[in-house]
């Protein structure tokens, strides 16, 4: 029995990630997540309230550059690997009317 997660929670996460699992996979995934989440529990016990989170490693300021057009892909090059393209644009199936 999973202690740190559940089939329902995994199904919800899968939904957010646009993934679907069959029942056999779901069993394995729940067990894997449960094992890892158990090992991560140690983080909750550490006294870190007075430590600032690291957002970025290098002390970088905003990087500015002049607004000049450099080498860039043509429309054809950008679309060359698209599974479907139409009228110079990426093409997808129906969006309107679908249930979220």
């Amino acid at each position: 029995m999973a202690e740190h997660t559940s089939s329902d929670e995994v199904r919800k996460l899968a939904d957010l990630m646009r993934l679907r699992f069959d029942d056999t996979e779901l069993d394995r995934v729940v067990r894997t997540l449960d094992d890892v989440l158990g090992r991560l529990a140690v983080l909750a016990d550490l006294d870190l309230d007075d430590v600032e989170p690291t957002i970025h490693l290098n002390d970088l300021q905003n990087v500015w550059r002049s607004d000049e057009i450099g080498p860039t892909l043509t429309n054809e090059e950008a679309l060359a690997a698209a599974p479907a393209a139409e009228a110079g644009q990426f093409s997808v199936p129906t969006i309107l009317g679908e249930t979220p």
Binding site: L19, R39, L43, V51, T54, I55, A82, P93, I95
Partner: protein
């Protein structure tokens, strides 16, 4: 004599001097690959035709007396998560199979500009998520030292290509040890540079705040040569460091006399095979004999680094891999609506191990768990950086194992604890953004053991100096089941 098995620097010198041609060097390597690739499977794609064109170009430049780059005529391979213009790039995933990128990663461009010949793309774990190269959609790569064993990973194809003498140099990527651990398993040198030292433009991103592309070579001088070509600022990656560093190649003979070097107490514990710990202690003795002062250094947060790393890498991956949605490139599974199409595409295109990591990352970033996981991991990262800064105020470099175990057998399922601790020694450098390298230093049970050298951020020179002293005293190279006919070593 075949060129396969010779060092990159010797090949480049011979090509530049006109003693041999880039075409002949390439032919020898392609013949060697042809004879042994079926036993190793280091490559996802061989770019034979474009490689021949590049070699012919180099030979024309030699004939014209043109200025040639430091890697003139040297065959190289690139891990297949580094995009290459006109050459299929898959990240070892079904979701990208068949993708021909329209541009070169900055590292790919720099290496080509230095005169190197891109022979092929090297195998990896799917999206660089793993440490055995078994999860590749192209099938596993085998270790040239012992073909029943894994090469490590995720840059296992790169490590195997170098160890088998298919290409004297290769570029891998290291997010949590993915250059250093396979280098250790295959008995070669592998570098994880300071964060920002090498451009990430054109890397297929896994953990953007953690990873760097890194040089891999049969020995330190070859690896340094490639490293020096890769580094430097890049307008296409705003996280690159603004300065152009001094070449490490010029410092390999500087020695370690008077240098203070620390052994990391927390990386010599029960998680490590005692035979490997013994090799690290032998390395410390070798450095002491060369005039270094060895001390033990404690970095307590190392004990929790793996937990913080798992949270951060998967959180970043879940965001980075959102782009594979069947719209712009790669696989599309047709469906009636866009939402169904994306779901079907991602479900069919990603392997189960990748999906598990994406779920973990989504879990860590979800509102319910953000404070207990993602935020805590970022704070632990700060603590680790502080402790390392304190250590580097006292010592110039740190010494540790690279991997807790030697290469396991292919297909063997490791115990859950052993699997968890696999990245124990390597993730601290990624979390802190400091440089680290793995150098072969003898064997355990007949298999290669890498010793890891770390330094403070931008400390590549003391790191290479330390490693050079170790290399000079290291036991001779491990016998390999597959190796080039032209090498002067077994």
């Amino acid at each position: 004599m075949s060129a396969a098995g010779r060092r990159a620097r010797d090949l480049a010198a011979a090509v530049r001097a006109g003693e041999t041609s880039a075409e002949s060097v390439l032919r020898d390597h392609l013949d060697h690959i042809d004879a042994h690739e079926a036993d190793i499977r280091a490559f996802t794609t061989l770019a034979t035709r474009s490689a021949r064109e590049q070699a012919a170009e180099i030979d024309r430049a030699v004939a014209d007396g043109a200025e040639l780059g430091p890697l003139a005529g040297v065959p190289v391979s690139l891990k297949d998560n580094i995009v290459t213009e006109g050459i299929e790039t898959t990240a070892a995933s079904a979701i990208l199979r068949g993708w021909i990128p329209p541009y070169d990663a900055t590292v790919a461009r720099r290496i080509r500009d230095a005169g190197a010949i891109l022979v092929g793309k090297a195998n990896l774990d799917e999206f660089a998520m793993g440490s055995s190269t078994e999860s590749s959609v192209h099938g596993p790569t085998r270790n040239p030292v012992d073909t029943d064993r894994i090469p490590g990973g995720s840059s296992g194809g790169s490590a195997a290509a170098v160890a088998a003498d298919f290409t004297p140099l290769s570029v891998g990527t290291d997010t949590g040890g993915s250059v250093r651990q396979p280098a250790s398993h295959c008995g070669i040198v592998g570098v994880k540079p300071t964060y920002g030292r090498v451009s990430r433009h054109g890397l297929i991103a896994l953990g953007s705040s953690l990873e760097q592309a890194g040089a891999m070579g049969a020995d330190l001088a070859d690896t340094a040569l490639l490293h020096d070509v890769m580094v430097g600022p890049d307008p296409a990656d705003a996280t690159t460091l603004p300065d152009r560093p001094e070449p490490v190649s010029a410092h390999l003979d500087d020695g370690v006399a008077g240098m203070r070097i620390g052994l990391v107490t927390e990386l010599l514990g029960d998680e490590i095979d005692p035979a490997i710990t013994a090799r690290v202690r032998a390395a410390a003795e070798a450095l002491a004999a060369a005039g270094a002062e060895i001390t033990e250094v404690s970095i307590p947060s190392v004990h929790h680094a793996l937990a913080a790393y798992r949270v951060l890498v998967n959180a970043e991956a879940s965001s980075n891999l959102a782009r594979y949605d069947g719209v712009r490139h790669g696989l599309r599974v047709d469906a009636d609506t866009t939402d169904e199409m994306m779901l079907a595409t991602r479900t069919a295109g990603f392997g189960l191990g990748v999906k598990e990591r994406l779920l973990l990352g989504t879990h860590a970033l979800s509102a319910d768990h953000f404070d207990t996981h993602y935020d805590r991991a970022r704070r632990l990262r700060t603590l680790l950086i502080r402790e390392l800064a304190t250590a580097f105020a006292d010592v110039e470099t740190l010494l540790a194992p690279t991997a807790p175990q030697v290469a396991r057998r292919l297909g063997e399922v490791p115990d859950a604890d052993i699997a968890w601790f696999n990245d124990h020694c390597t993730v601290p450098a990624n979390l802190a953004g400091i440089p680290a390298l793995s150098l072969p230093f003898g064997t355990a049970d007949g298999l290669p053991v890498g010793v890891q050298v770390m330094a403070a951020a931008r400390g590549e020179i003391p790191m290479f100096r330390t490693a050079a002293v170790l290399e000079a005293t290291a036991p001779t190279r491990t016998d390999r089941a597959v190796h080039g006919p032209g090498g002067d070593l077994p």
